[in-house]
């Protein structure tokens, strides 16, 4: 059942199923994303979480911060855990073997939603094979990547999501290096190319856009991938109160464009239509420099010898924004 959320006041009627006094850092965007995703529906939710900050800090034995069914799984297999739950659920439903409480909710139209949360390390890198496999097999679940562009939980090592120029503990900036050397991997397109029916990029600061996309994802049948920008006060090194502002700067500079890709397949699995929609267009596209300046992980880029990396950033962001607009226009 799609929950009616016309505006923020109506959204605030939600009863959170994610609890306080978890051990995430003050100001952590992971938490804001999890709240927005869970509150996007009133249906039962089953969550699998990959190892990373979210898992470690919301289930410190003997405590749990989850009021939904929740599975603590490895670093590399959140997608496969969720896919397995999804397959088991479908069999139990077909055979009439759902637990009575679940059966009752399903009869009321409250079909359980199965969600996996993983960090960028657990998604772009280490969990990629299980994620790719689950998407190829077409299980009915949603995968949400909490993308803070670093392995935060183990002290901030670079991942294939870390953008160029970021100083991390394994790509430290200093007298001989400007930090990370590689460009960020295009995970959204990679997941869309699996033929998934719905793939989207979101930011917690644009809560309505996020909630709408999650609701769309819950409505389609098949694997759904949501890439969520997740400002990390500890590794991006901004003040905790600036989490929403930094997120907004990312969106308004088009560093973090908000868009969705919808694939339609026929009964043989052949994709006959792919559509890309940009869901948020900044009124004024701000220079990338402003986004970088708000995060001390990029501080060194403002030294004269590293300025060329900022120019490169702007070029890369402009090219990508151009590419997304061209795809949208062409309807592909």
């Amino acid at each position: 059942m799609v929950k009616k959320i016309k505006n923020l006041k109506e959204f605030s009627l939600s009863n959170d199923r994610f609890e306080g006094a978890n051990l995430m850092c003050p100001g952590c965007a992971h938490n804001i994303i999890v709240r927005e995703v869970l509150n996007a529906t009133d249906d039962p939710v089953i969550v699998a979480t990959a190892t990373g900050c979210l898992e470690v800090c919301t289930a410190v034995y003997p405590k749990t911060s989850w009021d939904v069914s929740w599975i603590h799984i490895g670093f590399e297999n959140a997608a496969v855990a969720a896919a397995t739950v999804s397959a088991a659920y479908e069999v139990a439903k077909r055979k009439g073997k759902l637990p009575p409480a679940t059966q009752k909710l399903v009869e009321e139209g409250k079909e359980p939603k199965i969600v996996a949360f993983g960090g960028d390390g657990g998604t772009y890198d280490i969990g990629f094979q299980s994620l790719s496999g689950a998407f190829e097999r077409g299980h009915n679940f949603m995968y949400v990547c909490l993308d803070n562009e670093v392995y935060a939980n183990t002290g901030g090592q670079r991942s294939s999501s870390t953008p160029i120029g970021a100083s991390t503990s394994t790509s430290p900036a200093g007298s001989v290096s400007y930090g990370e050397k590689m460009m960020k991997k295009s995970m959204v397109e990679i997941m869309a190319d699996h033929g998934a029916p719905y793939v989207a990029q979101v930011s917690p600061s644009k809560w309505k856009d996020l909630v709408k996309k999650v609701q769309k994802g819950f409505e389609v049948y098949g694997p759904v991938y949501i890439n969520a920008q997740s400002a990390c006060t500890t590794e991006w090194k901004h003040a905790p109160e600036d989490t929403i502002e930094v997120s907004d700067l990312g969106v308004d500079s088009c560093v973090w464009p908000l868009y969705e890709i919808i694939n339609e397949r026929d009964e043989h699995g052949i994709i006959y239509s792919t559509k890309l929609n940009i869901t948020y267009r900044p009124k004024k596209k701000i220079p990338v420099e402003e986004y970088l300046a708000a995060q001390p992980r990029f501080r060194h880029l403002f030294k004269p010898e590293n300025r060329h990396i900022i120019d490169l950033w702007q070029k890369a962001v402009d090219a990508r924004w151009e590419y997304l607009q061209r795809r949208e226009e062409a309807g592909v």
Binding site: K9, P26, D42, D67
Partner: protein, 143 residues
């Protein structure tokens, strides 16, 4: 003798136990009894188990706390949606206050509050709330 989690009814009993005094288990319970549809039950009415972090507190992480001024608030709910720690209490579309047991003092709610002056402001942790309200700043002129 190690204790079984299921037999513990009071959160303070767990807090006093060492890690080796609990029988290790794979499942943690959120509630002391089955809740049919948790999304329909507001926080105040949930039968939280001592193993639910809701029963614990992180308020002592703070050095500054947000203080809420009802007189200025327009109930926009920005603070509610962006609080990472479920610490803004809103009921019937109205903002009611801060849950100090769970608030980590990040200051996001203050940053996103749109009123002038703000309806939420950070004060040193030891400040008395009534005192904080008495020294609330006046409206700031637009620069």
């Amino acid at each position: 003798m190690a204790k079984d989690l299921k037999e513990i009814k009071d959160v303070n009993e767990i807090k006093d136990l060492g890690w080796d005094e609990l029988i290790p288990g794979a499942a943690l319970f959120s509630f002391t009894e089955p809740v049919e549809d948790v999304v329909e039950v507001p926080m105040e009415e949930r039968p939280y188990a001592p193993t639910n972090s809701h029963e614990w507190q992180v308020g002592d992480w703070r050095v500054e706390k947000p203080v809420y001024n009802r007189d200025l608030c327009i109930d926009c709910q920005f603070c509610w949606v962006f609080c990472p720690d479920m610490s803004i209490l809103s009921r019937d579309k109205k903002m009611i206050g801060v849950i100090y047991e769970h608030c980590k003092g990040c200051g996001i709610c203050v940053e996103v509050c749109p009123t002038n002056p703000k309806s939420l402001l950070m004060f040193p942790e030891h400040t008395d709330n009534a005192q904080a309200l008495a020294m609330w700043p006046k409206k700031e002129e637009k620069k």
